[in-house]
């Protein structure tokens, strides 16, 4: 990553408010993130973190009434400033999205073939036969057996895993440069998840795609992405290379998230819970959004919102980042009070 080249996708102090409950509520407080062309970034967070909306802002798919501050730039062009025609070009040629639940995101009344060729035929004016040949080839590429037959079937006749591959094929059909994947495997079984992720990974490699992968699963993101960005309550709290995640995560929240999903095959890995529930962006107080749940929180944390700062080769928005110890992975440091887990339960 050199600073001279323009990143393919860049969030610049993105802040989004939505009209909810009579007032304009903040759903994204601050996101700064750059994706170099060809890179893969995992955007990880729990419910209410704003990760999904962040992804949607790239395609200008935010709800009506959303107010955007800061900027989202695709290949240097500001998305919020785009006119309808430009936005359509962006959506139909440059960036495509894979949604969480293919069952509701594909028109149930039309055939799989209609769904796959729609954008090619209606937007890119390709002849139907050519478009069909293209998507059949794509279906084969994402390992859908019996592609011709599938084209004539309706979504209700396909399993969830198969349907998600159809969704991926339809995203690839427009030959985008950027793929946005919003929890593409959350609704699927683990073995199917592994296959679908392998397919996304493969497609990315073969086509040199840039990937923004939205998930709640840190380990899954780390497995297919170069860099990890963690969101909490509308804030991007940490960003770091995926391979350094386990050892070098600096933000307390990132470490807490890791500790609540230990590796099942490692004997005696301890399960550590964080008190409380994940906050939604609009519930965040004046200080660090994670402070109410953070075992290491000080008075400053409750008072003042931390700015993102460089930590090793990443950034973290934390007043007291976990000191990186290159020698040992000390997960216990997340939780200095041994009795905390128990207090959670009480």
């Amino acid at each position: 990553m050199t600073t001279a080249t323009v990143p393919l996708l860049e969030f610049d102090s993105l802040r989004v408010t939505l009209p909810l409950g009579g007032t304009q509520r903040t759903v994204i407080h601050r996101v700064d993130l750059a994706l170099a062309a060809g890179s893969a970034v995992g955007l990880v967070g729990e419910s209410g973190s704003g990760k999904s909306l962040t992804a949607r802002s790239v395609l200008g798919l935010l709800p009506e009434g959303a107010r955007i501050e800061g900027d989202v730039r695709f290949d240097g062009a500001s998305v919020p400033a785009m006119r309808q025609a430009e936005l359509r070009t962006l959506r139909s040629r440059h960036a495509a999205m894979v949604f969480q639940d293919p069952r509701t995101h594909i028109n149930p009344l039309r055939t799989v073939g209609d769904f796959l060729t729609e954008a090619l035929v209606s937007v890119r004016r390709e002849p139907r036969a050519q478009a069909e040949a293209k998507v059949v080839a794509l279906l084969r590429e994402v390992h859908v057996a019996d592609a011709e037959r599938r084209m004539r079937q309706r979504p209700s006749e396909l399993s969830g895993g198969l349907l998600q591959r159809v969704m991926i094929a339809s995203a690839l059909a427009v030959e985008p440069r950027l793929l946005l994947a919003d929890e593409p495997t959350t609704a699927l079984d683990v073995t199917t998840q592994a296959e679908v992720m392998a397919i996304i990974d493969e497609a990315r490699e073969n086509r040199g795609l840039t990937l923004l992968f939205i998930t709640h699963d840190l380990a899954l993101a780390a497995a297919v992405c170069d860099r990890i960005a963690v969101m909490y309550a509308g804030h991007l709290v940490e960003e770091l290379p995926a391979r350094r995640l386990v050892g070098d995560a600096a933000h307390r929240y990132t470490r807490a998230l890791l500790a609540s999903r230990p590796d099942p095959t490692v004997p005696d890995a301890r399960l550590r819970a964080v008190d409380g529930r994940p906050l939604s962006a609009f519930e965040a107080g004046p200080g660090c959004p994670f402070a109410p749940r953070c075992a290491a929180a000080q008075e400053l944390c409750h008072r003042e919102r931390p700015e993102p700062r460089a930590v090793a080769d990443g950034r973290a928005a934390c007043h007291f980042p976990h000191a990186v110890d290159p020698q040992a992975v000390d997960l216990d440091a997340v939780d200095p009070h041994a009795a905390d887990t128990e207090r959670t339960a009480r």
Partner: protein, 262 residues
């Protein structure tokens, strides 16, 4: 008493028309033991749990609890209450497993009053004790479910089940609908409860990640059949069945890469 298993399931089978959802499942659960039933969608794990709890009719096979068979649909009140004290269940969806019009505390009091000769202050004391055990306070006890978070509702469901002091608690994907950081809280709570009282768990899950934290033994189900069974540590580190291996290999963890099976 200790020799009689809490739960014994023999050749349990469920057919829906031509489709066999559960095919000859046998399980044995000793007093105080905790067993995980792991499988993906369509494995028959939930149907198995529903047959054991009497929520689904059994096509063939037997279920005995403490040496007694399941009560039939026309069982007398006393028999039904006795069955309730043997087995309870916590459901996956915390949004629909509580009556949305009933305050959390009232729901627990209703169950307590049904099972124990408790009245007035004593009933309230026992109710608050249960709520305290699962980490809920008075304010939450006076709330209706919609004012609670998913984790809190699941705590309430656990407290309600514990109110009858069951020998066996069936946890049907009980943490699957929760956020990752909240899942860990509930798993820890369940582990803690088992440390305090003699209770067995039958933990139905698709998620291998939590199994070692709660269960000593695990069975793996696929397409209605048990493909592997054994102590958790053994099965997870040294699986015999290729499907079990596949399942374990599919769990993302540090250093993991997604691979296609084909």
């Amino acid at each position: 008493m200790t020799d009689i298993p809490v739960l014994e399931v023999e050749g349990l089978t469920k057919r829906f028309g031509e489709h066999t959802a559960v095919d000859g499942v046998s399980l044995r659960l000793a007093s105080g033991e905790s067993l995980a039933v792991v499988g993906e969608s369509g494995s028959g794990k939930t149907t198995t749990a529903r047959m054991i709890t009497g929520l689904e009719s059994i096509s063939s096979g037997t279920v005995t609890m403490g040496g007694r068979p399941l009560p039939g649909p026309r069982a007398r009140t006393a028999e039904r209450l006795a069955f309730a004290r043997r087995i309870q269940m916590v459901f996956q969806d915390p949004y629909t497993s509580l009556d949305r019009h009933q305050r959390i505390g009232d729901g627990i009091a209703e169950v307590l009053a049904r099972h124990a000769p408790l009245h007035g202050a004593e009933l309230t004391r026992r109710r608050d004790e249960l709520l305290d055990q699962v980490g809920l306070d008075r304010r939450q006890a006076d709330s209706r479910p919609r004012h609670l978070s998913g984790g809190q509702r699941q705590r309430a469901a656990i407290a309600r089940a514990l109110a009858v002091e069951p020998e066996l608690l069936v946890l049907d994907e009980a943490v699957a609908a929760l956020d990752v950081s909240v899942q860990a809280q509930i798993v820890n709570l369940l582990a803690e409860i088992r440390g305090q009282r003699p209770i067995s768990y039958l933990f139905i899950t698709h998620d291998l990640g939590i199994v070692p934290h709660l269960c000593e033994r695990v069975v793996v189900m696929r397409e209605g059949r048990i493909v592997e069974a054994g102590p958790t540590a053994e099965v997870l580190t040294d699986p015999r069945d290729p499907y079990t291996r596949d399942l374990i290999d599919s769990v993302p963890r540090p250093g993991w890469k997604p691979r296609r099976r084909t």
